[in-house]
């Protein structure tokens, strides 16, 4: 087994637009080990989706490298070898648009099977049924339905089944539950956890919900304006948040019990809005909203620093474990 299943090095993606150059991702690096669930968290517009799309090959990156199982795949999807396409799948945020409304679930599921020649055409039907059973949908009932006839959660399950059809090892989940109700979300999250265990999957789980991360991720990465601010193993992350932005996010979460309330860092009051990625503030991009900002923050762009095993932070002001 290779050391890392996915490794992203200095990935940058810029979009030229009318308003100027959008730096959607600005030099991010992270590594995922097999079996990992990396939670990528950040506000809207911070570049989470773009990261996932670069990995899956929707755009070629502006610079930087993406290594999948040791193989460079930093090209657009149509130049990638087929086996990579099957091995690296994605589930999108919007269950409404990720299934073709004019095709039955059977037709939808058959596409990856046919493209990747999984099984013979004869046992494909059985295979599709198995896939549906795997995501806990009664196959005979659902195979012949159109997406519009089923609920949002079920659509997401079908999308998941489709992603799993080619036996991938890495699945990118781009906010798979943000459009769903909590009760449905719970079901899907449990399903994801179970499948990861059963199928030995690795997830890159994108979300903006930190409390959800607490429950699924093994590591959490915080993203702000195209840059990573902090990466840490989940427990460490929630118990010792370091970056002011992390703290601000944590303190903003509405919670339902007093125990949770106690976990929120109360000093960090949220303020301001994420700036436009066209004119990113100079220096530390977060300084305009930072409650702990110092004089140098407006000029000095901080480096990534490992402050504990597996805990990386990008802040000018962190001066040691007790330095706060």
């Amino acid at each position: 087994m290779p050391e890392s299943i996915l490794s992203v090095e200095n990935l940058t993606k810029c979009f030229p637009t009318k308003q100027g150059l959008v730096r959607a991702i600005d030099g991010i690096s992270f590594v995922m080990a097999p079996g990992d669930t990396l939670g990528l968290v950040g506000e809207s517009g911070s570049g989470k989706t773009t990261t996932a799309q670069c990995i899956v090959g929707m755009y070629p990156p502006t610079s930087g490298d993406i290594l999948f199982k040791g193989e460079t795949i930093g090209a657009a999807f149509n130049r990638r070898p087929k086996h990579v396409k099957g091995d690296l799948r994605i589930v999108f945020q919007d269950p409404g648009s990720s299934l073709n409304p004019k095709r039955t679930i059977k037709q939808i599921l058959s596409v990856p099977l046919a493209v990747h020649r999984v099984g013979t055409s004869r046992d494909r039907l059985a295979r599709m049924k198995a896939l549906l059973e795997m995501v806990e949908l009664p196959a005979d009932e659902y195979l012949y339905k159109y997406p519009q006839a089923i609920g949002g959660g079920e659509k997401q399950m079908v999308a998941l089944a489709r992603a799993l059809a080619t036996n991938p090892s890495l699945v990118l989940l781009d906010e798979p539950t943000s459009a769903l109700d909590v009760s449905v979300q719970a079901k899907i999250i449990n399903l994801l956890i179970r499948l990861r265990r059963e199928l030995n999957l690795t997830y890159l789980f994108i979300t903006h919900d930190l409390s959800l991360m607490r429950n699924v991720a093994s590591r959490v990465a915080i993203m702000y304006l195209g840059k990573l601010c902090e990466i840490a193993p989940t427990v460490e992350f929630f118990e010792h948040p370091v970056h002011p932005y992390t703290k601000m996010l944590l303190s903003s979460i509405p919670v339902v019990s007093d125990e949770e309330e106690a976990l929120k860092p109360h000093k960090a009051i949220s303020k301001g809005e994420i700036p436009s990625p066209v004119n990113i503030p100079p220096g530390c991009s977060f300084h305009s909203r930072c409650s702990e900002r110092g004089d140098s923050c407006a000029e000095l762009d901080p480096e990534m620093r490992e402050i504990a095993p597996g805990h990386v932070v990008r802040c000018n002001h962190w001066c040691g474990p007790e330095g706060e």
Partner: protein, 326 residues
């Protein structure tokens, strides 16, 4: 007497396939100065409830089948056009879920705000506000919401603003005139947590300041906990549980509420339950009796026959479930 009282409201939609019976004897009360939350999953009829109260349901397809909505004792559903207009101008106000959708994209923020003030505060003759007063009031209203640089914002079109700013404009529109009751339909659902936090704090402040009663609708238990004193849980067009927010969140009674609470991911990281089996019923042919019974783990024969009344389980805490019949 309650400020607002919704009694046994039944509302449906007539569509091609038939009649969607959405609201099913929904009940709701808001007292003067009280802040009430209404929580429910997607499609359970929250917006329908608010729109009924504001009497802006699109008819057709919507139809109010029965029920009363009493505002200070007067039935909104049977009010004259004049009456409802005055009510909207002086008593009730609202914020809707999607800030982009609820601002007219064709006009500047200033134009819309000014017209609202002109029409609601205008009055006649001497009571009328001068142009300058209106302008000043608009800017003040924007300023109150914590909007930076309100003078500039007045000249902006909604599409030039970010989501958070738009929602602030909506709040300014809603609170620019003295209203007694604010109906907020998922005011922060589409926003980031940090922005949501800011907006809710601001709203909290303003409401406190003006002494407005609030009915806030959301699907986030956390938001309700931060903001309200009392809350209702809604399921498929019916209220299933109500009580003081603290009590209810600490000890949910209805199986549905319990299932919901267990599904909420916690910061403590205790894991997530399996959620509630099944999904929200089809309103074309809703289940008989308790609408939750097909998904309920404690289902009893009686549940399938008649809808349960409210049973008290604590001070001001009532539940519509036969489990608590005794």
């Amino acid at each position: 007497m309650a400020l607002l009282e919704v009694k046994d409201l039944c509302v449906g939609y007539r569509i091609f396939e038939g009649h969607l019976r959405v609201l099913n004897r929904a009940r709701l009360e808001v007292d003067s100065g009280e802040r009430v939350g209404l929580v429910g999953e997607t499609g359970c009829g929250k917006t329908t409830t608010v729109k009924s109260i504001l009497r802006v349901l699109p008819t057709p397809p919507a139809e109010v089948a029965s029920g009363e909505i009493l505002y200070r004792g007067a039935d909104i559903l049977r009010m004259s056009h004049r009456g409802i207009r005055d009510l909207r101008r002086r008593e009730m106000t609202a914020i809707f879920q999607d800030p982009l959708q609820s601002l007219n994209p064709m006009f500047t923020v200033g134009t819309q705000l000014r017209d609202i003030l002109k029409d609601s505060m205008g009055g006649r003759g001497r009571g009328r506000l001068s142009r300058r007063e209106i302008e000043a009031r608009c800017i003040a209203a924007l300023h109150e919401t914590g909007m930076p640089d309100p003078e500039r914002i007045m000249h902006n079109y909604p599409s030039q603003l970010s989501g958070g700013m738009r929602q602030r404009v909506c709040i300014a529109e809603a609170l620019s005139r003295e209203a007694q009751l604010l109906l907020a339909d998922e005011p922060t659902t589409n926003l980031d947590v940090t922005i949501q936090d800011q907006i809710l704090r601001k709203l909290d402040e303003l409401v406190d300041e003006k002494g407005t009663s609030v009915l806030i609708i959301t699907h986030s238990m956390g938001v309700v906990r931060d903001l309200t004193q009392r809350m209702y849980i809604m399921y498929a067009g019916t209220m299933v549980e109500t009580g003081r927010t603290k009590d209810l969140l600490a000890a949910p009674r209805h199986p549905y509420t319990q299932g919901l609470m267990e599904s909420v991911p916690r910061l403590t990281g205790v894991g997530i339950s399996d959620g509630i089996p099944g999904r929200i019923p089809n309103y074309l042919d809703p289940p008989s009796g308790c609408r939750f019974h097909p998904r309920c783990v404690h289902v009893m024969p009686v549940c399938k026959e008649t809808a349960p009344e409210f049973f008290s389980v604590g001070e001001g805490h009532v539940v519509a479930c036969y489990l608590y019949r005794s």
